[in-house]
Structures are given as C-alpha cells and as structure tokens.
C-alpha cells in the first residue's frame, strides 16, 4: 500500500469534516492537513499561474501550497492554509482555483504554454488603447485570484484589547518557555504568546525534554495566550497580537468574539520565534509528495500520520537524519538519504553522499519516483514521499520590523538577528541556533521546473530571466517575478531566491541583497483589524441632548460630521422641501424654534479675557459692554477666514464665544494654541462647552411675545444678554438673529433642557408657529446673506473676499493679520462674495457661473434657496472680481445635473436689506 495514512487504528477519529464534498474523519488535535494526509489525500490545490497539482509541503504557517476555502455563508474564509487550521466537527473545506474539479482542472492548460508565460510576460504585450487592455484584463482577472470571497456579511464579532507587560515572549517552544520562566522568576510581568494551539514548538515534533510546563508558567504568574500570533512590532515595543478564539469558518460560542486583536506595550521583547526549514531547489520540487523534512516528523510524531511508505530523504544537514529515524519507527522504509555533503558520519540508513535530487515523477495525486545525481551518476529511486531539508531560516520578521539589523552567518547560510534599535532580543533557533549548511551549487539542469516561490509559480528560470533583463536588486526581482508576494509572504522562498540571485550575480548572498519584512507576520482578517468598529460602529454617532424631543415628530435627520440633527419635520406626507418651506414661512410670519446645541461654545474668563479674544477675533471685542454681544470672525494664521460666530460679554471678565458646529475641534485647538503657546502670560481660562449646554433658537415676529410669556419679563434687546428661568430651569438668553427675524438663543444645561424645549414648543405652536430644522434654517440665512463656514468661507477666502473687511479691527494684533498683506490676497480678480437672483427657476447649488454658455467658469454658487415669502430663487456665490460686477447677467450651469439657469449678480442680501426686522 502506498500513499499517506494514519499510523495505528482509526478509532480516535471522532471529528467529521468534508473536503470537496467527500466526508472524512479526523482526530481531535489534527490540523486539516494532517487529517487529509491520514485520509490518503495527496492532491489538495492547484497553483496560481500554471495550475500545477499541489499537495501539502509543510506543517505550519509557512505552507505555500495547501490553500483551501473553509466555512459557509458569511463565515467563508478563502485562502486558508490547511496546515494552520485545527479540524472542528462539521468543518466544510474545498479546494480553490480549479475548474471544473481539482482532479481535472482546465487551468492546467496554462502549464502547457508555460514557456510563454514566464515572469513579466504581460509587460511585453497586450498593447493598444486602454480599452483593448481591459479586454485582456477581464480574462486575466478571472484567472487570477485564488479563493472566492464571501458575498454575505460576516456574522461574527471581533474585539480589541490592550495589554501591558514587562516582558513579551513571542513563541512557546523550548527557548521561549525558558525565557518566560526566567523573567517570571525575576519578578517581571510576563506575557507569553504562541501561534499554535499548544505550547512546545519543536518539542511537539521531536522528543525534546521541556524543562518548563504551561502549568509551571502559570503558577509563576506568566500569562499565556495560545493561538495568538505576534503580527507586528511597531514603535517603542508596541506589538499587535492576533488571537483566534475559533478556527477559520468555525462558529464562535454565543456572545463570544471570533478573534481578538491585542495591542501590547511591552517593556522588552524576547523573540523565540524559531526557524523555518528551507526547501531544496530542483525540478518538480512542487509535486504532491514532496515535503519539508521536519514537517514529515511533525506529521509522524504529533499527528500520528505517515505521509509516505517508501521515502527518499534529500538534505544538506544533519537534522533530516532524525526524519529517517521517525519514518522507520512508524513503519515506513527509508529508500535513500541523498546528502549533498561529501563527508558524513556513518549511518544505518542507505546514505548517498554528493547527492542531490534532480527531478520527480508522479501522478496528479502522488509521487512515484525521484531522480537524483549521485556523484557523476544519475539514479532513480521509486518513492512516494520525498522529505527535503535545505537548511533553516531563523524567523527574524519582528526583529526586522522593529528596525533591527540582520547579520549574515556564512556557516549557516542564513541571516540572524543583529543589533536592535529597540529592547528586543532573540533566543533559540530564531537567534541562529540552527544546523550549519554549505552554500548550494548553482547548476540546475531544469530551471524552468525548479520552483522558488511555490504559490506564485516562480521558477529558477524566472529569477534568471529577471537577472538577464536587469531587474537585479532584490526588490526589483521580487516585484518583477512576484516572488515573495504570495500569501505565505516568502517564508519558504526568500532564501532560495536570494541564493539564486547571488549565484547568477557571482556574489555572496548578503551582497545580493536583503528582503524587507513587513507586518503582518501571518495574514489577518480585516474583520479582526476592524474589531468592534466594523460595520455600524465605524464612526461614532452623536445625538443631541434633545434627541428624543425631536424624534417625537419623526423628523428627517441630517448627518453633520458625527452629529445627527433634524433637517425638517414633515407632516401629512410633506416632501422635505414642502416641510422646510412651511417651517421657514412660520419663522417669517409667526415664530419657530430650532435646536442649535451643536454650535461651539467657549467660556473665556479672566482679567485678560478681552485681550485674549482680541488675539483670536479679527473684529473689535474689548469695547463690548457687559450684557452685550456682537458678530465676530476668526482668521487662520494665513489670513483666510477660518470660523465665525458671536462673542458676548457676560460679565466684567467673563465672555462667551460661539462658533460653527463643524469647526469645534479646530477652534478648540486654535484657542488652546493661542492661549498656551502664543500668549501664556495672559491671565485667562478657556473652557470648551459645546456639549454642556443645549441651545434653542426662537425666531420670528412673535418671538418676543413667546419668550416674555415664559420668562415673565421683557426679553433682552438685540445683541443683549439676559438670565432667566423657563419651566423652572435656569437659562441664559442671547438675543442674536441668524434668520433675520427677531430672535433669541436660549441656553440651558443639556441634561435639563427638555422642559425648556417643551415650554417653548408649546407657546410657539399655540401662536401658529412650529419647530424648524436645518433645511429651513438654510432658506432663512441665505435670504439674509449670512455666510456659512464650509460654503462661502471655504478656507480659501479672506475677509475682503467675503465683504467683511469693514469689521476688521484697525488696531490689528489678531492672528492672521500679518498674512493678509500678501499681494495675491488683494488682487481684484479674486473669488468674491456675491448675491445671485433668478426670477423663476431654482439656482443649482454648487453650479458653475459662466459669462456665456461654453466659456470657462468665473465662479460658483455656494448656497442656494427659493425665497421664503414670494417667488424666485436667490443664491450666494463666489465670483471673480464679484464686487465690481453688480447687475451682470451670468449663467449658473450644472452639466452634471442638466441645469442651466440665467442669474443676475446683486448684493448678497435679499431680505430686509435695511435690517429692521430683527431689531427692536
């Protein structure tokens, strides 16, 4: 009987799984790879480009070939390594990248024309217009890609956690266990992480005595996380860990996450990450039945599976002899040991020195023979398993990510960790405690079929071709051939590639170059990276303190950054526009209330409060009397209008500054900078109060009456301040108008503002008014010509552009003043604020202003609305030299919306030009 099989009886195989529709059984603790081998499966996958039949080469995360799709529905995970998946009952797995079946794959035709599909062939053809490339691209894209992504949403949850420790030990093999115990006994807080399910590392493969057990470590206070991969080592010993609580495709326990991402800040890090075995390079080294020698031992010793019965071992070091022992004890026959060295110690096995494999023979599913060069002679060995060992590569990824240097050890033909920039040390085989090997010979009789990167089908011939064409630096080689860029991230290909590159360049490997190591160490799902912030939590949702009061009327909600604010309160099937127009008309004819809680508010207090405000505000402030306020605006240091709002003198040394909702964070940072960095000598305190107070603006001809009814006294005059009580709640009233009607902003502590809103709403509705939303607010303020930060003040406009220059404080001394004199800020052809009117049609917001159809834009419409009372459309815009273009006829053109409207340039105020309605 040939082929892989379980050692001993099969009674312990209690787990049921399915592979490519075939039901099979596995032992608890089996990886999918071990279980497939135990069931005699040799063919597991098809390679990326040539669709060559592939089996299982390794036993760990370095596996390049055995990729399968597991899971169902929204839990489907393509490109899963069969060697890095522990079988669970009910596992459904299928092969990928083959049609119609794994055994009979049409894609194999690529292999027939492989000679034309060498590295980089696509750069040399497919010319013509882009449309022609896209026809080829369609075909290429369908052939490319490995597995298929799921289409349903992911039902599982993911968590992020932080952790801190004195010592992070990465790797639970012999060296890591010892390091963890030593640190714990020295009194350090230790976190030990291991990517496998069990601790032990190489002790799971070979009979190595472990001086330390998991129980012993836990007793010593070590925190152990298994199935946890240290994925990236970032600045200052910050490490990201990926913990799998279930296997890919497996359903987590109810209420538990599928994976965790842990962010760890460590005092120091010990890397006990082991070493990965190197394949040998020869023709047909990718065939099912060709495996890494240590992987064979892992299958035999850990999983009780014998991957083959007639075994050839090919090696350049002593380690593979242990594999010969293991095979023999398990009942297999070691047909030959091909040792590349010329002098080796005596052995009971049939050893051939100066021997290297040349080629393999076999079916799609199994190996049948190995051809080898033994000395000067070519010999053939019948075998169903070739176990190869080309030396070892210390796993230096994290060390390198942290900026650590790599040193070359010629005796090992490997890079080992050198000096580190951070507190990182490596121990065990990761530090270079591996078997020495000699440099491999360069001559290969069949480079076209000798694979370097198995997953991306990159051969020695491709490396040679890249060299010939001048892609000689390691990075050019990699990018040109795509080697090292597969899902195994070059773990088994980097060194072979460097060795070949060095050989054709005639240099030692370190002169050929170094590969760079980037996170993640092994691939991590995007869901795990997103954590709890996937889906609906990808951005916070901020609700107003008065949210429920609005929700009662089922408004249309508008997002503004993270906030949700009422846009309109439609009734009786009104459209948005109908509702907003009704609300705006109510404001103009009776009264309305709107939630303005999100406005930025800053309490500025102290003996130097006025001086501070005059630094930040470009208008006068210091002359404000107590109980009075005024409009103000603030400039960025480069002179552009950054924000606007109002400033109120509440008391001798207490002011309130309001500014736009969208600019809250910017203004807070700006004020802090002005205070702490520019003028720390000023005696002032600045407190951001946006979230503390809810604000309700009451506006309309009946506003005075409504407010008086509620506060029992005459409301303050325009731009005045008053304190009062509404419905038993303390309120501050600022008499400011944004709508153009007589208006009051009523502020109360957010948590207590409910009764205030109710009272205002009650009195307002009784007089025929109503709540209004942002849409109506827009109609009202546009008619009044009030600019808005983000629309007219788009970060590119100066005070003069916005017709605010008369308000600039003549004495200067405000932020932005010095930049305003720059010549390009005072030219006549700048985009300047204008008003626009159209008699009938709506003016499209955002449309371009043209002198005539087809001419280049000379400006654009920044805000547009219909007149609230009466007909016609009005808009604000920015127009080149607009201040001098009064009465000009233009076209507001929106090709994307198919709208072109004739407009006339007017002053940017359309309603109550004299300004009588909002004053007393």
């Amino acid at each position: 009987m040939s082929g892989p099989a379980r050692i001993g009886d099969r009674d312990g195989e209690t787990l049921r799984f399915i592979f490519d529709g075939v039901p099979m059984r596995a032992r608890p603790g089996d990886t999918l790879a071990a279980a497939l081998l135990a069931n005699g499966v040799g063919l597991v996958a098809r390679s990326f480009k040539y669709h060559r039949p592939r089996g299982i080469m390794a036993a760990g995360v370095e596996e390049p070939n055995a990729l399968v799709t597991v899971g169902e529905g929204g839990r489907t995970e393509p490109n899963t390594r069969a060697t890095d998946l522990f079988v669970y009952d009910g596992l459904v797995a299928s092969s990928q990248n083959r049609w119609p079946s794994l055994g009979f794959d049409m894609g194999a035709v690529n292999g027939l024309v492989a000679r034309f599909l060498s590295a980089g062939f696509y750069y040399k053809t497919f010319f013509g217009p882009p449309s022609r490339w896209m026809v080829y691209e369609k075909v290429i894209r369908r052939a490319a890609g490995l597995g298929k992504a799921p289409t349903e949403a992911d039902p599982d949850r993911y968590q992020h956690r932080s952790a801190f420790c004195d010592v992070l030990v990465v790797g639970g093999g012999p060296a890591g266990l010892v390091a963890a115990m030593e640190a714990a006994q020295a009194g350090e807080r230790v976190l030990l992480v291991e990517q496998d399910r069990e601790l032990g590392g190489s002790a799971l493969r070979d009979d190595i005595h472990l001086p330390v057990t998991a129980a012993g470590l836990e007793k010593a206070g070590v925190r152990i996380l298994t199935r946890t991969t240290a994925s990236g080592l970032w600045d200052h010993s910050f490490v990201t860990l990926n913990e799998r609580l279930v296997e890919p495709g497996q359903r987590p326990e109810a209420g538990r996450p599928a994976q965790r991402l842990r962010h760890v800040r460590a005092g120091r890090i010990v890397l006990a990450t082991g070493a990965i075995e190197r394949p040998l390079t020869f023709a047909g080294n990718d065939r099912p039945g060709v495996m890494l020698s240590q992987a064979v031992r892992t299958y035999v010793h850990r999983f009780g599976v014998l991957p083959g019965r007639r075994v050839v071992i090919a090696t350049n070091n002593d380690d593979a002899y242990l594999t010969a022992e293991a095979i023999t004890v398990a009942g297999g026959e070691v047909v030959a040991i091909l040792d590349a060295r010329t002098a080796v110690a005596a052995s009971r096995f049939p050893v051939f020195t100066d021997a290297v494999p040349l080629a393999t023979r076999g079916t799609r599913h199994h190996l049948t023979a190995v051809e080898a060069r033994v000395g000067e002679v070519v010999r053939r060995f019948d075998a169903d398993l070739l176990a190869m060992s080309g030396g070892f590569t210390p796993v230096v990824h994290l060390h390198s990510q942290a900026g650590g240097k790599l040193d070359w050890r010629a005796d090992l033909q490997a890079f080992v960790p050198g000096a580190s920039l951070q507190a990182v040390t490596s121990v065990g085989s990761a530090a270079g405690e591996i078997h020495p090997i000699a440099a491999s010979a360069a001559n290969l009789p069949d480079p076209k079929h000798s694979f370097v990167d198995f997953q991306n089908d990159v051969t020695v011939a491709d490396v040679d071709l890249a060299w010939r064409e001048g892609y000689r630096s390691v990075e050019h080689l990699k990018r040109y051939t795509t080697l090292g860029m597969a899902t195994d991230q070059g773990k088994t290909s980097n060194m072979a590639a460097l060795a070949r590159l060095a050989a054709v360049a005639g240099v030692e490997i370190p002169e050929a170059g170094l590969t760079t190591f980037r996170p993640p160490f092994t691939p991590i799902t995007l869901g795990a990276l997103a954590g709890a912030d996937g889906g609906g939590h990808a951005a916070p949702t901020r609700c107003l303190a008065l949210h429920d009061h609005h929700q009662r009327h089922d408004p249309l909600w508008q997002p503004l950054g993270y906030w949700f604010r009422p846009r309109a309160y439609p009734v009786n099937g009104e459209t948005l526009h109908e509702a907003a127009l009704r609300e705006a008309r109510a404001v103009r004819t009776s009264a309305g209330i709107v939630d303005v809680s999100t406005l930025a508010k800053f309490a500025v207090a102290g003996p130097d409060a006025a001086a501070f405000l005059e630094m930040v505000c470009a208008t006068g402030v210091a002359k404000l009397a107590v109980g009075r306020g005024r409009y103000t605006f603030m400039l960025r240091e480069d002179g552009m209008v950054m924000d606007d709002g109002t400033v109120w003198r509440l008391d001798e040394q207490r002011y309130l500054l309001t500014s736009s909702t969208g600019g809250v964070d910017r203004m807070e940072a700006h004020l802090s900078y002005a205070h702490r960095v520019l003028a720390p000598q000023l005696r002032v305190s600045v407190v951001a109060q946006q979230e503390h107070f809810a604000g309700i603006a009451l506006a309309g001809p009946l506003a005075v009456e409504i407010l008086q009814a509620l506060i029992g006294m005459l409301p303050p005059a325009h731009m005045g301040v008053a304190r009062a009580e509404i419905a038993g709640v303390a309120v501050m009233i600022l008499a400011a108008s944004y709508s153009g009607e007589r208006a009051f902003e009523v502020y109360a502590e957010g948590m207590s503002a409910g009764p205030v809103w109710d009272a205002l709403e009650g009195e307002t509705r009784r007089r025929g008014g109503c709540p209004y939303g942002l849409e109506a607010l827009e109609f009202l303020r546009i008619e009044k010509g009030h600019i808005v930060i983000g629309a007219e003040a788009d970060g590119r406009t100066t005070p003069h552009d916005l017709r605010l220059e008369r308000m600039l404080r003549k004495s200067g001394g405000f932020i932005g003043r010095s930049a305003l004199d720059r010549p390009a800020l005072t030219t006549a052809d700048r985009l300047q604020l204008v008003g626009l009117v159209a008699p009938d049609a709506a003016i499209p917001e955002g449309s371009m202003l043209l002198v005539k159809a087809g001419s280049p834009p000379v400006g654009h419409v920044t805000s547009a609305a219909g007149r609230v009372l009466g007909g016609g459309a009005v808009a604000l815009g920015l127009l080149r030299g607009g201040r001098e273009r009064q009465s000009e006829a233009l076209i507001a053109s929106s090709p994307t919306r198919g709208q072109h409207v004739r407009v006339t340039v007017v002053d940017p105020v359309f309603y109550d030009v004299e300004g009588t309605r909002y004053r007393d």
Binding site: G71, G74, P78, S118, F121, Y123, K124, T125, F126, F127, P130, M134, E137, R141, R142, A144, G145, L146, G147, A149, W234, D235, L465, Y471, S473, E475, H476, T487, Q489, R518, P520, P523, L526, G527, A530, G531, G534, G536, A538, A539, T541, Q558, E637, D638, D794, G795, R796, A819, P823, A824, P844, E845, G846, S847, L850, P856, P857, H860, P895, T896
Partner: protein, 421 residues
C-alpha cells in the same frame, strides 16, 4: 538570433521558443560621466518620466537620473495605483487631466505595458450635502471638458454590487460621482517603462548613487556630490518626493513641505469582486482590486512628520473598519501585507514645479499623496522647465514663491498644516 529589443506578442512568442535567452537588459547600468547637461535627482516615476520627456520632446541627450537606491523604490512602488484627474481646483484638474491623456497612450509610447485600466474612479456620496459637493466638483470638471458623471444610488449599486446599500448603514449610499476615464495602473511598470524608454534615448540611469551635497560656483549650481563621486551639471532638478526637505537643505533651502507617512495594505488574492476604484467624499478610505486579485486599501495618513516608513496601526484598523462598513464582504479577507510611503506634504496640498532660489536648481515635489496619477504630466512639465528655464503653462500656478505671495492652491481648504489635509 538577435536580441529582442522591441516588446510585442511576436517577441514573446520568439522568446518562449528560444528559452527566453535573448531578452536584453531593460536599462543599462552605466558609470556616471564627469558632466551632464541635466541631472535629475530621484529615480522614481516622476524623475524617470522627466528624463524621458527631456530626451524625447526636447532632444537633450546628456541627461543623468541619480537614484540613491533602486529605481521606483520610493512612492512609485508604494502607492495604491489610482489614476484620476477629478480635482475641484481648476489648476489641479487641468494638470492632472493633461496627465490622464498621457496615461491613455503610455503603454504604446513606452512599448511597456503599464496595464492602465480605465475601470472608473468613483466617489461615493453619503448624504445630500455630499452629493451637492460631488455635483459641484463634477460641474467644475465638465465645464473644463473633463468627464464627470453623477450616479444615482441604483447606478452606484450596479457598479459595485457588494456595497452596503441598507438605509441604516453607517455610511448610507446616496449616490456617487464617477470619472470613467480614471482607474488603476501597475505602478512598478511605470517606473520600469519610463526607465527603459529613457535609457534607449541615451539617458544614464545611475542607481545606488546618493546625492550628498551640491557644488556651487559663483552662487550657481555646478553639480552634485554623490556616494559615487562628484558629477558636474548645468542644471539640477530635485525630484525625490518625501526626501525633498533634506535634499533641498543641502543647498541651504527650506521648503514648505513636511514628510509624512501614508500606509496602504493589500489582502490575499481572490476572484474578481470589485471592478472599479471606490473612494468616498467624506471618508478617507479607498478600495480597489489589483489584477492579481488582492484588494488594495488605504486610509488616513499618519499625521505627524516621519521618514520611518513604519506606520501607526490605528490607521490600518480604521481603514479596515471603514472598508467593511462600505463593503461588508471584505471582513473575512486577510491583509497579507501592509507598507508605507513617505509623502511630501506641501503646505497647500498642491505640487511645486519650480525654479528654486539657487540658480540652476529646480524642484518637483510636494505632491502629497496624489503624485502617482500625475506621473506623466509631472514629468512633461518638469522637462519643459529644465529644458527651457520657463514654466510650462500648466505648471505656472505651482511656483515655489506662491506661498510668500498668497497664491496658494488649496483643494481641501485647510491651510498650511499638513496633518489636517
């Protein structure tokens, strides 16, 4: 059998039949000469395209490109390969569209397939206000003769079926704006293609040659000092992206540029699932699928000065979260590689293609994170400047002195702090 100089399907056939033995080197590896008429510092896409156009359009034969590492090793090899010209500011969309026109003929021009795929560059709108902003941008583009199309919610869904279209999605889809002529290209191929074509026109591409200083005579540039010796030049053009600051400092010049890390990452390859480039009007997240099948993603920059090319994990996590919010099917795909580039953030977000205050010295930099799409246009304009001493009309708005004068071109409107961009 002669070497296969010109790439074609026929050449591939011949190559396959002869064991690929006759392919010549794509570019020579010459030793630096003593003197060049023009030296370009920086062997990325922009530097190499500049050299090509200097030779091809302006007939200059005595040109060297000095690259401290291997060509295309900087941002050309690290970007997310998006090509488009749909910027709001006229000076920008005019320049980028000129570049886009050159993209359309690049593979044939260079006889190197850069795999320019005009699969569309789509901006999603998540609110009415987003849609108005997109319409404004689209209108500006259409009035300038550049393609821009508003798409309805349903049209967006048809284009990207895997978008989360539910009304209570965190980023609901209201519609989008697409530039159909935009798309992706194979970034490495752009550097290699321009290098090969420039080399054929006699340009010396000198790798592993780091500029360590400038030599001046009478206040004028006379050449450069390098790790491979001194080289004389009549004119020197700096074209080093993230390293603009340190190189300009060698001539005593301070720039309105700050280096900042931008990360990107790619998933394992899967069968085709996203056929266009997906970006958002209000999110910094962008998603596309490479021809090999990996989903390429990017997000916010790291927002602090750095040359480390090592990024902040929270940026990747946030980009993943936003990507999954937009396309839930991405959740089970695995990030296989993440990397960073060092972007040269200019203080208005727009490039600088200009003479510097030292005679004979020029700068092409400050492309922030938008340089790849401009590659051919940048090279064309820079070649014009280096050849004639005058700005190309498309590059005229991007002078070095615009900051002092106040003529900044600020697409985002955020001012001079790069981390706000």
């Amino acid at each position: 059998m002669g070497s296969l100089m010109r790439y074609s399907a026929f050449a591939l056939l011949r190559g396959g039949l002869t064991g690929q033995r006759h392919w010549p080197r794509a570019w020579r590896d010459p030793a630096p000469r003593k003197h060049y008429e023009v030296i370009i510092i920086g062997g990325g896409g922009h530097g190499l395209s500049t050299a090509y156009y200097l030779a091809k359009v302006h007939g200059i034969r005595n040109i060297a490109v000095l690259e401290k590492g291997w060509i295309g090793g900087g941002n050309t090899g690290r970007n997310t390969t998006i090509v488009r010209s749909n910027y709001r500011q006229p000076a920008l969309h005019t320049l980028f569209d000129f570049a886009l026109n050159l993209w359309e003929g690049m593979s044939d021009e260079l006889n190197y397939n850069v795999m320019f795929s005009q699969r569309g560059a789509l901006f999603l709108g998540h609110s009415d206000s987003d849609m108005t902003r997109l319409a404004e941008r689209g209108d500006a583009l259409r009035c300038a003769g550049i393609d821009a199309e508003l798409l309805s919610r349903d049209e967006v869904h048809k284009l990207v079926p895997l978008l989360d279209m539910s009304p209570d999605a965190r980023f609901p889809i209201h519609g989008g704006m697409i530039q159909r002529r935009g798309g992706t290209a194979r970034h490495d191929a752009v550097a290699w293609g321009y290098a090969r074509a420039a080399d054929r026109l006699g340009v010396d591409i000198i790798q592993n040659c780091e500029v360590t200083g400038f030599s001046m005579v009478g206040g004028r540039i006379a050449g450069v000092e390098t790790t491979r010796g001194g080289i004389g030049a009549d004119r020197v053009g700096i074209c080093v992206a993230g390293n603009s600051g340190p190189v300009a400092a060698m001539a005593g010049i301070r720039l309105p540029i700050e280096a900042q890390t931008l990360q990107a990452f790619v998933t394992e390859p899967v069968k085709p699932m996203i056929d266009t480039v997906v970006m958002s009007q209000s999110l910094h997240c962008y998603i596309s699928q490479s021809d090999k099948g990996g989903i390429v993603l990017g997000g916010d920059p790291d927002q602090f000065p750095s040359y480390a090319q090592r990024g902040l994990p929270p940026r990747i996590e946030k980009a993943a979260a936003e990507a999954i919010a937009l396309v839930p099917a991405l959740s089970r795909l695995r990030m296989v590689r993440c990397w960073s580039g060092t972007t040269d953030m200019s203080f208005d977000g727009s490039p600088i293609i200009s003479a510097l205050p030292v005679e004979g010295l020029y700068l092409n930099g400050g492309w922030c994170y938008g340089g790849f799409k401009a590659t051919p246009g940048s090279g064309w304009c820079y070649a014009h400047l280096l050849a004639t001493g005058e700005s190309h009309r498309l590059a005229a708005p991007f002078g070095f002195d615009r900051f002092a004068v106040g003529a900044t071109i600020d697409e985002a409107g955020v001012g001079f702090m790069p981390q706000l961009r």
